[in-house]
Symmetry: D2
Subunit: 393 residues, 4 copies
């Protein structure tokens, strides 16, 4: 048993280093100033992501399990904590988007300090399976924040009137859509939810049976070209396609197109990470809300899949370029139990008022996707790389 | 065919008269002023309910189908319409809670006028099945508003510092809870959704199969006594029982107890329609939000049923005194299609961000309940007569 | 001395009766529903005015000075009090616009009860000068509420999509403007502030000297015709005429014309108390904010008077059809001291962020005007009968 | 004439260099991140101040008057402009606190570029008097922003939970108050407003006569010790000292002490630019709103001076450590005319809803004070170094 554990630790140590480095690689072209701002409540400043993911390892691994570990800065617990409820009375409220200190340099020093201690800890120690699982959770947590780093950086640069480019070598988001076809699934009882080896989140657990009626699902995503037809046919002006709440959102926010689309001299331009460029017709549409996905489906006379349908059919199509809105609300699987303690807060407390997205996106880190992964956002949000796949009954 | 229809019409005519009269009976003890106010956005002024239900019959029956019908007042279409999106540009925005005109007397005259024309129309005419269905929809629509009338009147009087009594003869809400027991349902494929004769809403249609795992459901509702234990054990102070969004709601709204509960000199008082009285321990708890229902269940280590579980088990217990929160989001049944035209706007457009309630309440009109009925509200709302039934896996 | 007092009391008693009756006369054509609503925060429901003015006499005269007086309803102190700060913890917050109870009938009964006691008290008693002054304050307070009753009723009916008429015999607001001329005032030290016999408010006290430079003031008010020229020349589209804060207000509220003006089929209509009628060109413009008054003056290349200039020149022109915005902020006169006790709260606490209006309006009660009267409102408000008089240096 | 101008230009050139350098000197200890954030709407990010003051010289001097001048970056006009109303339709709204670009380095390069061109322009050219006045306006404008830089930096660091120090060599704000005495001014006609040589703002112009009654003004400012007595005697709990609007502010914002005061373990600590330190009793109280200044004066039974009283008495006391709230609203002096063009927007458009402050503060640049200077802020603001001087009638 011990031997097995040492081997596991070696792999873990390498994986730890690789994932931690990748986070910093994502930030390679940022200016110091880009790390600091928070243009809307759903976006976090990049330096907060860098600090918060580090805080995870310090709090849940080093502090409790590395004998003699000295906390880097006792105030960081307060600054980079996201579990605000457990924090006691403080002189001043923290406010992510308005904190100039700690500086970016401070945060990178913090990362270095924690990484060195984690490196030694992972290489030397005999780790219990519980501890390995916690490290694994921390790494998957960091990968989630890698995707958020990408989407938040895009939001920060894409809402700057200078439209700065993130990276010249940047490959435009998306892939050409494949020729469209519908894959049929026959009615029956199916199993969904995670099973097997490797990491998974608590919200995927409880593999269970569901009855599914026959349906046909598109093997390709809706393209910009198709979405433009919806716009041009007055889709944003006709309430009958929309949820009541979606229609209110369209009116209140003056929504007329996907996020990052700008009509310049009669041409639809699109901020991509390389800058403001012309919208590419055959790319899958991106950065749309659940309301828009549903309105588009209604306009087509089709519908979004449920998350169970999506999972059962997922082998029949390529997925991974867009998070795909489903018509399933984010709710617990049968038998869902949240873990004890602060880590247990992970997912369950968000299981109301959000919709499930399946698949992954161009911003999702390598080896962080699986067909049972349940992503979730509020129906009006669109700063993630979201798209549409349709179903016919 | 014609004979059948005439017979149907006679019953319909009597039912029409009875339901319309019952609406006015609900208002028998109101003062003119009580008809006018709107203390919060979810509550409508009683006179609006009286006018709006009348407008339904005028708009969908009399105007299109009664030859020579003369509209009572062309401006009422604007004032009592709830399909605001189809209304054109107007000089002034209507604002339900601030309209002193039309007066209550005007609204009752409007009802009388429409009722007389409807009475003649139903007695004399040969009605198509479609038309009968529309009348039936109008009557069920009116019954929904009868329940809202009760809950809105309670809100209006219960938020007045004089705590006026609605009616001295009023029977306190609720019934003693029966002795608690758990009814077991075995795993299997079950059918849910409406079938058979009689009226039903579009959201119940599409009877379909679902797989359900084994569970045990309580045959009684949670009582005030049990809920008070939750309060006294610090349930409203401990975030770990709550959805993140529910906890924000508790903090923002300073929620400490169910709606209508007031701690007076150390004793929990409760505004019931007879006035402010002491809370009765063995009555089922009432006027709680979905957040509170969930927090209570978490505190107990149990959970709310899904709507499918509720429907499958419903024969095993008495229901009807409280609308019971389920842990199901309000989403379309497989194959759900909305009807054409304005009537088609009925239910589908609300299928996001709301939770399903099952059963019925002490405020629900007679013969307006069935086990397949899907009621729905946003998770923070509590002015309906809502309660809690628990499940063990 | 005693004799004098008895005589004073007789006049006072008659005046008391006349003023109290006039308040009810203003309401003669209201429907019960009109008494209840509160379409915006600055407007109070008419029944609140009726109750609040009555509460004044009960609280400051009858309770402390009429031996054996029995309070009409102990809860009315809470409902009709405007000195909310002195009120202790209550089970429920009062909310003027959502109180259906006490009913209008209750409020009239309350008036009757208090009036009868006041009548006997004023006729029988030997009143101290202090007490006479308090009664006088109460009557002037009631006259202020008479004007608010008129402006609030206009707001309630004028924001109803049915545009109901207040009274068919109603004389349209305003009077033809007289031929325009400018009256010159020479530079010098002048005295302003109240002096002499009769009632006055604390904010007029402290007659004092001010130095005034030479100026010329218009003997007529700006007319609808002139104001329409401002509109038609793009006055609402050009920020250079506006205070920064006024321009924000125009943009945020989409202001394009005075309150109650509606552009119907290319013609400017105006809700007056008789209904919606065509705007009369030669009437003085009405229902404009301080921002609009200033923007108009800037557009003309002229300015508003200060309150001292207005008072000094007031004998040279007819005033009284519109409250005239001055460019003076509402601040204390030299030596201003607020009276002791709750009555002392009267005016001083409002002396920040408001502008002074001088004169009176068509809605001001008879014998409630004087040239030293200092009215005041926030610069964005326009539901009073406000107008513009211009000055040249 | 030419000779005079060249000489003036030489001095001007040196003064230009000195003032521009001082702006950067203020920022000497800032981290890059400190330049970027905007924790509240009244505070601007330091880099915006640096860019905006530079934009002034580029826009009003170099572009129109330096032949062949090449604009540094055409987009900066949009980013650093504060005259937002003249800006046309843009793809994206600018939002000072969320702009990571241009970077701090970019902004300093922009300053260098403009300074070099200005330097050559001032040394070489024969400048018209108009142009010299515009440069002078630009320099005074920059000095105003120097003070804002100090107050905004204090706000940014003082609202960071780490309470970073601005500079270790920093001298604590304030000076010991001198022994208190009252200086008497006799009644009479006095002249106020700017006269003489040197720069002044348009709002000081129009030297004019005012009548002032006799009064006595304190020769010292209210101290922290005195203010603490107000706090300890329940000043923030007793509405009778407050304007109605001030009391609402106290309740809504939970105000209990001046800005930057924190009660830590029963001791009042104060964030000063050196860090969080104990409040020094004999320093003049700082960072209080007009509401607080007035409430304090009412509690003392005294009052604030008017701006005319302050100016007339100003020779009798030391001033300059705190901006002193007066009880005068910010309104135009007699004969005030705003200048033509964009520069003319300077002051007049703010002349509503603000109160005048007189004197200067520890943050005011050298040679930027005079007794006729009219500073102004909304009554609730307190991030400037504001204080209290009292008057007795």
């Amino acid at each position: 048993m011990e031997e097995t554990m040492v081997k596991a630790d070696k792999d873990l140590s390498a994986r730890f280093a690789a994932i931690r480095q990748h986070t910093e690689f994502i930030c390679r072209s940022l200016k110091t100033e880009d790390y600091v701002v928070q243009p809307c409540a759903d976006v976090s400043p990049p330096k907060w992501h860098l600090g918060h993911t580090t805080w995870f390892f310090e709090t849940f691994i080093l502090k409790p399990f590395l004998p003699g570990y000295k906390v880097y800065d006792s105030q960081y617990d307060f600054v980079f904590n996201s579990y605000y409820e457990t924090v006691g009375a403080r002189v001043i409220r923290t406010d992510r988007g308005n904190l100039s200190r700690p500086t970016v340099e401070d945060v990178f020093a913090y990362r270095k300090y924690v990484d060195e201690h984690m490196g030694r800890f992972l290489e030397n120690g005999d780790l219990s399976l519980d501890l390995i699982e916690t490290v694994d959770l921390g790494l998957n947590h960091e990968q989630q924040h890698q995707e958020l780093l990408m989407t938040d950086i895009k939001y920060i640069l894409g809402h700057n009137p200078l439209f700065p480019s993130y990276a010249t070598e940047y490959v435009p988001t998306g892939q050409k859509s494949t020729a469209s076809a519908f894959h049929q699934v026959v009615a029956g009882n199916y199993q969904i939810g995670f099973e097997g080896e490797g990491f998974s989140f608590d919200n995927e657990h409880g593999r269970h049976q569901v009855w599914i009626d026959e349906f046909k699902i598109s093997t390709s995503l809706v393209t910009n070209r198709e979405y433009l037809e919806f716009i041009n046919s007055g889709g944003y002006q006709n309430f009958s396609y929309w949820h009541a709440e979606g229609w209110d959102w369209v009116k209140r926010e003056h929504v007329e197109a996907p996020l990052y689309w700008h009509l310049v001299d009669g041409k639809w331009m699109n901020y991509d990470l390389g800058g403001l460029t012309e919208t590419i017709a055959e790319n899958p549409v991106c950065h749309i809300s659940f309301y828009e996905a549903t309105a588009f489906a209604n306009w087509k006379g089709l519908r979004l899949p449920t998350e169970a349908e999506w999972e059962v059919a997922s082998a029949a199509f390529d997925w991974g370029s867009r998070w795909e809105w489903t018509n399933s609300a984010y709710l617990p699987y049968p038998g869902f139990k949240k873990a004890d303690g602060a880590i247990g807060e992970y997912n369950g407390k968000f299981m109301v008022s959000q919709m499930v997205l399946r698949g992954a996106s161009v911003a999702t880190p390598q080896r962080h996707s699986r067909k049972t992964y349940r992503n979730f956002f509020h129906p009006h949000l669109r700063w993630q790389f979201t798209g549409i796949r349709l179903v016919v009954d």
